[in-house]
């Protein structure tokens, strides 16, 4: 869709790991940038990058086709999840000045999983891919673990938990969803996760420069007090070992 291809580059930034994913777990059936396939085929999982320009018939048609032909639709990256920087678009750019209206893919179709971030990190994409595979093909223990891992990302696609400022995904989510709710405990994860350094920690709390914020939602999603699963983190060691084993050369 309408994106910068950074999310797709982030997939490739798994380097040899991408080859492992393709060798063992994934058949790559469609990709405008990297595969010579013109039409959207039937798919188990579609990773969608970018928001949808509703002024562009082809984009709208393709996001509809993607939903119809995929069992699972994953919004890959902040533009697909929540709109991200395309929320600032107002048209007037050559060579299609009338392209001025961009929406998150979830505004037009049901989305099953969010992978937020601008760009999403290679490790996050890797973790989701391995867990999705284990959910479908693993043994019972692996299925349970992978299911617990993916649950918050599936909930995020349904705008849960609220109130998160969902659909806006700017630094103000931290204020509205965390600080206003009496939940911030000064860990600094938000500041570390901001790709544009819009967040500084002042007296332990995030201070957001809204002029810099691109509305990617990384800060809120990285925050351990936005959503947090004891089921998952209490098993962090075994999950990381499972992923490492799945990716071992």
């Amino acid at each position: 869709m309408s994106g910068c291809t950074g999310c797709e580059v982030a997939i490739a930034d798994n380097y040899a790991g991408l080859l492992t994913l393709l060798d063992r777990y994934v058949d790559w059936v469609y990709d405008l940038t990297l595969a010579d396939v013109r039409h959207i085929p039937e798919m188990d999982v579609a990773l969608v990058e970018g928001s949808v320009c509703i002024n562009d018939h082809l984009s709208v048609e393709e996001i509809r086709e993607t939903r119809e032909r995929s069992k699972i639709v994953v919004a890959l990256g902040a533009c697909a999840c929540t709109g991200n920087i395309t929320r600032f678009a107002r048209g007037g750019q050559q060579n299609q000045p009338q392209h001025e209206s961009f929406v998150a893919i979830g505004d037009l179709i049901d989305v099953d999983v969010f992978i937020p971030g601008c760009a999403p990190t290679p490790q996050m994409i890797r973790n989701v891919c391995v867990c999705a595979y284990l959910l479908l093909k693993g043994n019972d223990d692996q299925k349970a673990l992978a299911g617990a891992y993916l649950k918050p990302l599936m909930a995020a696609a349904k705008c849960d938990p609220a109130p998160t400022g969902c659909g806006h995904a700017c630094g103000c989510d931290l204020i509205v969803g965390v600080i206003n709710q009496g939940l911030c405990m000064a860990c600094g994860a938000c500041a570390a996760s901001c790709p544009v350094r819009a967040i500084t920690m002042e007296l332990g709390k995030p201070n957001i420069d809204r002029e810099l914020c691109i509305k990617c939602g990384a800060c809120f999603n990285q925050c351990p007090r936005s959503w947090y699963s004891f089921d998952v983190t209490n098993q962090y060691e075994s999950i990381m070992e499972t992923i490492d084993a799945a990716m071992a050369p």
Binding site: G117, T121, T233
Partner: protein
């Protein structure tokens, strides 16, 4: 492996203190965090560590800091009882500082943020695989810096510049000055100045750290140490073999593990209740519960 609802998973628990007198001189209790990170740094187990040091511009104001030498680690000894968002530097440590093996000290909630960040690295590119050692500390609650000013200068009637040590123990908040005065405040006074976010915290002894440590459970000058993960076991065994710490079985010291369990149970039970109260905070409307 012991699995405890309140103390988390751990493979061993001991009373310990550093054998390095220089470290002990300025540390809060047994010098475990400083001693273990200094050992890991010297051995190349970590390239540096995110710790909390005092902001040179204001007395007792903590700030996160990336220490890349034992000398820098020594600056960070001791407890400040105020907010130091150490995770804010977690990506920077792997970028500007170029660390491939990062050590970090943090509170239980910061350990939760760290592990969430490793499993869900939404904005933490290339960070998850570079966390080599996470030392967690025991934590009942924390205070904004302005609360510390309020407590020390207003309630304690003591200039913050003159304070050499603060401590919470034996049911009191203790302030020690450079002239030898000791001020004690009952915790009844300090409660209202606590950071609100601490009241939903369900971890007292850093259950997700590789090694966690705190004063509760052991005599003055010693620390209680939980060794938890494979990484924790590995580095702790090496540090013991190198003679970095002297230890006693936790069963042989007073007040022992019972007190740790008691305080952990109290904290977590109180905060579970606070989560329940938040759910019906308004009329037919509640405050958000972050735990899913």
């Amino acid at each position: 492996m012991v699995q405890d609802n309140f103390l988390g998973n751990y493979t061993s628990c001991v009373a310990a203190r550093s054998t390095n007198r220089g470290i002990l001189a300025g540390s809060q209790d047994g010098g475990i965090a400083t001693g273990l990170l200094a050992f890991a740094l010297e051995q190349g187990i970590i390239d540096g560590a995110i710790v909390s040091m005092v902001d040179p511009s204001e007395p007792w104001k903590p700030m996160p800091f990336v220490a890349t030498s034992p000398e820098e680690l020594y600056f960070a000894r001791g407890t400040r009882y105020s907010l130091s968002p150490n995770l804010a530097l977690i990506k920077e440590a792997t970028r500007s500082y170029g660390l491939d093996k990062v050590g970090i000290v943090g509170t239980p909630c910061q350990m939760q943020g760290l592990r969430k960040g490793q499993l869900y690295p939404i904005g933490l590119r290339d960070v998850p695989d570079k966390i080599a050692l996470a030392v967690g500390i025991f934590c009942m609650e924390n205070f904004p810096y302005q609360s510390i000013i309020q407590l020390v200068e207003d309630h304690g009637n003591t200039k913050l510049e003159n304070v050499v040590k603060m401590d919470i123990g034996k049911g009191k908040f203790w302030i020690y000055t450079e002239r030898g005065a000791v001020v004690q405040l009952p915790l009844k006074i300090t409660h209202k100045y606590e950071q609100p976010g601490c009241h939903v915290c369900l971890d007292y002894v850093s259950n997700l750290a590789d090694v966690s440590t705190g004063s509760v459970g052991t005599p003055d000058g010693w620390s209680t140490v939980f060794v938890r993960s494979k990484k924790g076991n590995d580095v702790w065994a090496k540090a013991m073999a190198a003679g970095c710490f002297e230890t006693k079985p936790i069963e042989e010291v007073k007040p022992g593990l019972d007190l740790v369990t008691k305080l952990a149970t109290e904290k977590i039970t109180k905060n579970r209740k606070s989560l329940e109260e938040r759910a019906k905070f308004g009329i037919g409307k509640g405050l958000r519960n972050p735990y899913i």
